[in-house]
C-alpha cells in the first residue's frame, strides 16, 4: 500500500477522497465547537511568538515606508516597459478561501482550505496571503483543497531577485528559512526581497513576494554559498487566496 501511494502516484486518492469527504462534516462541527478552546491555548502559549511577530511587523512597517517610493518608481518603469513590449497582462483571477484545518499531527506540513475543484481550484495552483506566497495546492477535492506550505522541503519555487536574476527557493521545514540557489554569483544583501519568477512551467504567477533575505554566507573553503530567506507570508493566516492560474500545457 505504501509503495502504491508514494508521492506522485496517488492511485489510492479516490479512496482517501471518499472517506475524507464523509468525515468532513464531523470535522466542521468539531472545528466550530472547539475553536474557542484553541484560541485560548494560542493566547496562553503563543504570547512570546506574538511579541516577536509584533516587533517584526513594526520593523517591516518602517521599511515599507521607505519602500513605497521605490515601489512607485518601479511601477512607473514597469508600465513603460510593458507598453514598449506591447504586452497585455491581465490581473490574475483569485478565489478567497478560509483555512479550515491546520496540520493534524506533528509531521504534517499542510493546511486544508474550504475551496476546491467546484470553485476552480486545481492541483499546483499558488496560494497567497497579503504578505506574499504561502504555498501551493497539493490536492484539490470538490469543496476543499490541501495546501502544502512554502516551508515544506518538497516545495520548490522559481524566484527572481531585484536585479532580475533567476533562482530557486526551497523550504527546509516549518519554522526554518527558505534556501535560495542562484545560477550566477549575484551580489545580494540581507534585507533584499525576492519574488516569484513566474517563468517556469508551473501555475505560480510572477512578481509575488516570496520573502526577505535574512542571511548571506559567501562561498569559502569549498563550502557553497548559502542564501536564506524568511517568508513574507504569514504562515498562520486564517484567510488566503488561491490564484486561479493553471500551469501552461
Amino acid at each position: 500500500m505504501l509503495v502504491l501511494d508514494l508521492p506522485g502516484t496517488g492511485p489510492l486518492d479516490p479512496v482517501r477522497n471518499v472517506v475524507a469527504a464523509a468525515f468532513r462534516p464531523v470535522r466542521a462541527v468539531g472545528n466550530a465547537v472547539f475553536e474557542p478552546l484553541s484560541n485560548g491555548w494560542k493566547g496562553a502559549f503563543g504570547y512570546g511568538d506574538l511579541e516577536d511577530e509584533n516587533a517584526r511587523l513594526r520593523g517591516e512597517l518602517d521599511e515599507r515606508d521607505g519602500l513605497e517610493a521605490e515601489v512607485e518608481r518601479l511601477e512607473r518603469d514597469n508600465a513603460e516597459l510593458r507598453k514598449l513590449q506591447n504586452l497585455e497582462v491581465a490581473d490574475e483571477r483569485t478565489k478567497a478561501a478560509k483555512v479550515v484545518s491546520g496540520p493534524i499531527t506533528s509531521f504534517e506540513q499542510t493546511l486544508e482550505i474550504d475551496a476546491g475543484t467546484s470553485g476552480g481550484v486545481r492541483r499546483g495552483m499558488a496560494v497567497v496571503t497579503g504578505g506574499g506566497i504561502l504555498g501551493r495546492v497539493s490536492d484539490a477535492k470538490g469543496s476543499s483543497a490541501t495546501v502544502e506550505l512554502l516551508t515544506s522541503p518538497s516545495v520548490r519555487i522559481g524566484i527572481s531577485t531585484k536585479s532580475g536574476d533567476i533562482g530557486l527557493a526551497q523550504g527546509q521545514g516549518r519554522g526554518r528559512p527558505l534556501l535560495i540557489t542562484l545560477d550566477r554569483d549575484v551580489r545580494l544583501s540581507e534585507g533584499d526581497f525576492v519574488y516569484t519568477a513566474g517563468i517556469d512551467r508551473t501555475a505560480i504567477p510572477g512578481d509575488v513576494s516570496v520573502g526577505k533575505i535574512s542571511k548571506v554566507t559567501e562561498a569559502a573553503d569549498g563550502a557553497p554559498r548559502v542564501i536564506e530567506v524568511e517568508p513574507t507570508a504569514d504562515l498562520g493566516s486564517r484567510y488566503v487566496r488561491v490564484v486561479l492560474r493553471e500551469a501552461p500545457r
Binding site: 500500500m1 505504501l2 508514494l6 479512496v15 468525515f23 493534524i104 506533528s106 523550504g171
Partner: protein, 169 residues
C-alpha cells in the same frame, strides 16, 4: 475483542485528534492520541491484538493525512506489536505502569515514525524539533493513558470476562 467496539473507540479517538487535540500545538508539536491506542492495546491485550488495533488506528489516521497512505498504519502496527511483546511479563498491579508504558511507547513511536518517513522520502525530520515532538506526545499521552485503558478495556475484554471474579480470569 469486539470489532464493533474497537471501531467505535478508534473513530472516537480520530474525531478527537482531528478536531480538538491537533489544535493544541506547542513548539510545532501536536498530540497524537492514535498512537496511544496502539500502545495501550499492546499493553492490555498482547502483541497480536496490539498490532490489529495499531493498524486500525494508523490506517484511519492515514486517510486524513497528506503523507503516503499506510505509513502510520505500518508504524502503529509495529508499535502495538512491540509494546505487547515488551510488556508481556510486566507486573500489572499498579495504575502507574500503563502511564509509564504510554509515555515511553508513544515517545519511541514518534522517533520510529520520523525515521520511517525519512526512509520513504517524507520531510518528517524537517518540521518541528523531534525532541519537542517526543516529549510533548509522551507527556500528553501519559495524561490520557487512564482514559485509553478504560476505553480499550471496554472494547477488548469480553463482557463475560469483565463480570467474572478476577481470580477466575
Amino acid at each position: 475483542m469486539s470489532p464493533g467496539r474497537i471501531a467505535a473507540v478508534v473513530l472516537g479517538a480520530l474525531v478527537l485528534q482531528a478536531t480538538l487535540l491537533s489544535r493544541f500545538s506547542y513548539e510545532g508539536a501536536r498530540p497524537d492520541v492514535m498512537i496511544l491506542l496502539a500502545v495501550v492495546a499492546g499493553y492490555l491485550a498482547g502483541p497480536e491484538r496490539g498490532a490489529i488495533v495499531g493498524f486500525a488506528a494508523g490506517m484511519s489516521l492515514d486517510v486524513l493525512l497528506s503523507t503516503p497512505m499506510g505509513l502510520s498504519a505500518l508504524v502503529y502496527t509495529v508499535v502495538g506489536y512491540g509494546t505487547g511483546t515488551v510488556t508481556a511479563g510486566a507486573v500489572r498491579n499498579s495504575r502507574w505502569i500503563p502511564v509509564v508504558v504510554a509515555a515511553v511507547g508513544s515517545g519511541l513511536a514518534m522517533i520510529l515514525y520520523a525515521l520511517a518517513g525519512t526512509v520513504l522520502g517524507e520531510p518528517t525530520l524537517d518540521g518541528p524539533s523531534l525532541v519537542a515532538i517526543v516529549v510533548y506526545v509522551a507527556a500528553v499521552n501519559a495524561v490520557l493513558a487512564p482514559l485509553a485503558v478504560k476505553a480499550l478495556g471496554w472494547a477488548i475484554t469480553p463482557d463475560r470476562e469483565r463480570h467474572r471474579p478476577f481470580v477466575l480470569r
